[in-house]
Amino acid sequence: MFNPLSLQSLPPLGVGLGFRAPFASALLKTETKHSAVDFLEITVEHYLDVGPAKQQELSALKERYTLIPHGLNLSLGSAEGLDFDYLKQLSSLIQQLDPPWWSEHVCFTRAGGIQIGHLSPLPFSAEALDVLSENIETVKQQISTPLILENITYMLSLGGELKEAEFLAELCNRTGCGLLLDITNLYINSVNHAYDAYAFLDKLPLDQVVQLHFVGGHSEQGYLIDSHSHPTPEPIWALMEEVLKRAPVKGVILERDDNLPTFEDLVFELERARKIGQRYGRWP
């Protein structure tokens, strides 16, 4: 069951960036961290089973920044259970980085020996809750660092007895995990599936929101796609304002992957997020 004190005691990290190789020169230019970037999120899979160059990069980043590991491939929602070799590698990386928390997605990525290659949705059902809870319990036995869970976008609606927000709330309650609320994913789902993002927020356990993701996507065949490829649009900034006003968020991450702008453009977005958080006393 959820213990609010354990999440409240996590340190405020501020404003950060999802690390991608093209940002390395700007982020590692000096002996200390970049003044606009308080912390970094690293993609776990980029540092598993790699050569010395990536390990050196990780060490250089760790010397300057707090690093939050962000997993893509644990497949917490897999009904067939977890890949224990992968879990062992993940555990070792998290131990090496010693972060205040780490994150994964509410999804499945493999089934029946097939690697799907992307975050695939679960039904919002009691059975899916059971599977997630059991897998997360297994993970917690291997990794004691607090785990926070991210909401994904979904094009396929697989049904279930619960609504998405109720499902996430029950999952957090059962597992004690915090939420990594991706406000871009929330916005995209609200548009693609025609619901009110603010009403969705009302049903979430906002006291368990630890971190946010934000970025812009693109539109294709009448759907919004979370391609992490564009500047953050105004409706997502408005959602950020609302969440930072109401939730004890410890950090926000700009998650840009494609169509990369100049680093100065990223800094501009980070500074805007910083000011919003400061307005609500989330970080200095």
């Binding site: 010395p52 679960l122 039904p123």
Partner: protein, 192 residues
């Protein structure tokens, strides 16, 4: 239908183009052929075909995008042919390994080496050159030796410039050494 069964079927529908086309044409018969009873098939048949196709297409686009990033010069040199051949290759499953996109790119290169026409020798060599570069990102020691006929290290790969290339890492914790020896000129070290 159990969640386990639903996930196994979805994984196949999302990654197997031919199966998805069969499902679009005749969902109940396709599911029956996969051992799903009529009673259990309802949940899958209720999936909007357009959403399923769009999601599967998105997965394919993402896979192509990652491979293009891994093989930037080959994809540029091959132009539209790269994408067309990827669509044929994409029936091959994504490797279930930690560096899955890198391994996917290596697997795609191997597939192309078997399927490219013989007259595309410069493409073959450029693909091989970029594949070796990807292999050097993986852990472990190694010695890789190649003979190229085209200047795959230059922008203009069509230029004939025979050379021997050698990649060497004796210590798994050290960086790779790379030597290029032009066959008709003096030996020189290019970079560490």
């Amino acid at each position: 239908m159990s969640l386990l069964q639903q996930q196994q079927i979805l994984a196949r529908l999302l990654t197997d183009v031919e199966l998805r086309q069969q499902f679009e044409l005749n969902g109940p018969a396709t599911l029956l052929s996969l051992g799903i009873s009529n009673a259990d098939a309802d949940a899958l048949l209720a999936l909007a075909q357009s959403q399923l196709k769009l999601f599967a297409d998105t997965l394919l686009q993402k896979r192509l995008h990652m491979i293009t990033k891994m093989l930037p010069r080959s994809s540029q040199a091959m132009g539209t042919e790269f994408k067309a051949l990827f669509k044929q290759y994409a029936q091959t499953p994504l490797p279930d390994l930690a560096q899955k996109h890198l391994q996917d790119a290596l697997q795609f290169v191997s597939w192309l080496q078997l399927n490219l026409p013989a007259e595309q020798a410069s493409w073959r060599e450029l693909l091989d050159y970029e594949a070796v570069d990807l292999k050097t990102r993986l852990p472990g020691r190694g010695l890789i030796f190649r003979r190229y006929h085209f200047a795959v290290w230059q922008q203009d790969i069509a230029q004939q410039s025979p050379a021997l290339c050698l990649w060497l890492r004796l210590n798994p914790g050290a960086n790779w050494w790379y030597l290029r020896l032009p066959i008709w000129s003096n030996l020189y070290k290019v970079k560490e």
